[in-house]
Each structure stands twice: as structure tokens, then as C-alpha cells.
């Protein structure tokens, strides 16, 4: 399938898992290589965010898996979709010992989620504009 649902990369790092783990799971570590600023509540369900640049583009994450020092997983919003879109991709870091260092694998999956209303279920009727849009928002919120 040409649509990439899953991205995977593996990199060999000349540092023990504990060091790599800290770089991935602490605010200080994340801010040193990933974001420019970061915060993280390191527990499943915990919130995390990273911020880039002066304009403050922020990625909101939710911690999903914390198995020190082997697996760290989080979900985040899919770039380009509306901020309130519930679809998220899942990012998982796997740390395996490799000699004195670490083999780090990152997978990100979920790019190919099909929106529930992708087909059909478009708007009909003739009263367009914000009234209808806001009605749909209310319906969506009621349903979720």
C-alpha cells in the first residue's frame, strides 16, 4: 500500500540505555534535541508538550507507555488536521542494548486512519454558514 501508515527508523547510539532513556523521557532531554522547550508528566495518560521556535508551535502529546528503560510511547496530533480532530498518531521508542550502546527504534503509526465521515455524510440542506457549522460542532460534542 502506497499510503504510509507506519514509519520506522532504527539508529545505533553509542550510549547506554539509561542515558538514551533520559534524553527521551525528561523535559530537559527532550528540550535538548527534540523541541526547544518541553514538559512531560511521565506516566501513562500523562500530558507532555514540546514547543518550537519563537512563534511557539506546540505539539501536545499524551504519554501512553512507560517501561523504563525499554519502551516509551506517546500519541500526538496529526499535523495539518484541525486542532480538535481526535485522530492521533502513536509514536513508540524501543531501546535495546547493543554492545555498550543502544539500538533505538522509533515507529510512528496511524497516518492512514480513515475519518469516520470521509465518505458520504456531507452536509446537505440550504442553510449554510456558521449556524450550521456550529450546529455540527454541538452534535459532534454531544456524540463524543
Amino acid at each position: 500500500m502506497a499510503f504510509p501508515d507506519r514509519i520506522e527508523r532504527t539508529v545505533e547510539l553509542a550510549h547506554p540505555r539509561g542515558v538514551v532513556w533520559a534524553a527521551l523521557t525528561t523535559a530537559e532531554g527532550l528540550a535538548a534535541w527534540f523541541g526547544n522547550e518541553a514538559a512531560i508528566d511521565l506516566r501513562p495518560g500523562g500530558a507532555a508538550w514540546m514547543k518550537w521556535g519563537e512563534e511557539g508551535f506546540t505539539a501536545q502529546m499524551r504519554v501512553e507507555r512507560v517501561e523504563e528503560p525499554a519502551v516509551f510511547g506517546f500519541t500526538w496530533h496529526i499535523f495539518g488536521l484541525p486542532d480538535d480532530d481526535p485522530r492521533r498518531t502513536y509514536v513508540e521508542f524501543t531501546l535495546e542494548p547493543a554492545g555498550a550502546g543502544t539500538r533505538l527504534t522509533v515507529t510512528e503509526s496511524g497516518f492512514a486512519q480513515l475519518p469516520e465521515d470521509a465518505h458520504g455524510k456531507a452536509y446537505g440542506g440550504n442553510s449554510d454558514g456558521w449556524v450550521k457549522e456550529l450546529g455540527e460542532l454541538a452534535a459532534y460534542l454531544d456524540a463524543s
Binding site: F3, I7, V20, F57, E64, G80, L104, A122
Partner: protein, 139 residues
Amino acid sequence: MPAEAQAAAGPDIEAVAEQVFTALADPTRRAIVAALAAGGPATATDLAAGLPITRQAIAKHLALLAGAGLVRAEPGERRRVRYRLQSAPMQVAQQFLAALARDWDRSLGALAGHLDQTARGPTTPPRHQTRTAPNPRTP
């Protein structure tokens, strides 16, 4: 959550994305879609007033866009049918682009560089000037 993410992958998202890219490969259709995005629902006549093409040509493009699910004709008399942008197919295409734009190579390179720097000792690590988010929204 990861299981859900996997389960939702289906064969027709690719078809949806392909229709979006095909539709947007044409500059006139891009202009029509951009006009609907900027100004909201409009008739072929409205669109012809703002674009350097005939109403007939616009009607043809609108029919193609409707076939691809990118616009929807609202009920109305023939010449007064208004077309409204449909965002769902765009969102599918955006997911495709987000996957392509996710730059883990760069991020993991930054991680390796950071770890090497830190291990090398107490020299001040260079302040990350060229770092970017793993998606294209960064400045």
C-alpha cells in the same frame, strides 16, 4: 490506542488522497478550490466573476471536483447552485502529507548529536539553532 490506529487503515484512503492530488494538479481547479476556501460557498457564476475563465469552464471543473468529493452542490435552481468545499478528502490527503513530512531522520540525528555532545564533557552544548519540529509547521 496504537491498535485502533492500525485497525482503521483501509484501502480506499489511498484512492481518496489520489483524487485530491489529481484534482489539485490543475491550476484552475486549485484556484476554484482556493476561492471556495477563502470565500465560502459560491455559484459557478460567482466564481467566474473572480477568475479569468469562463463560467462554462468553471462548471466543468466543478463537476470534476464534485465527482472527487471535494465540493458539494447545494440544492437550488440550475444556474444558482452553490458549491461548497468538502474538507474530509483534504484531511485524508493531509494525513498522507504528514507522513511524508515527518522527519525522524533529522530528529534522530539531533538526538545522536546531543548524546555525543553530552558524553564528551562539560563544554557548553551549542544552542540548537537549526532544529525543526518533525513536521513542516516550524518557522
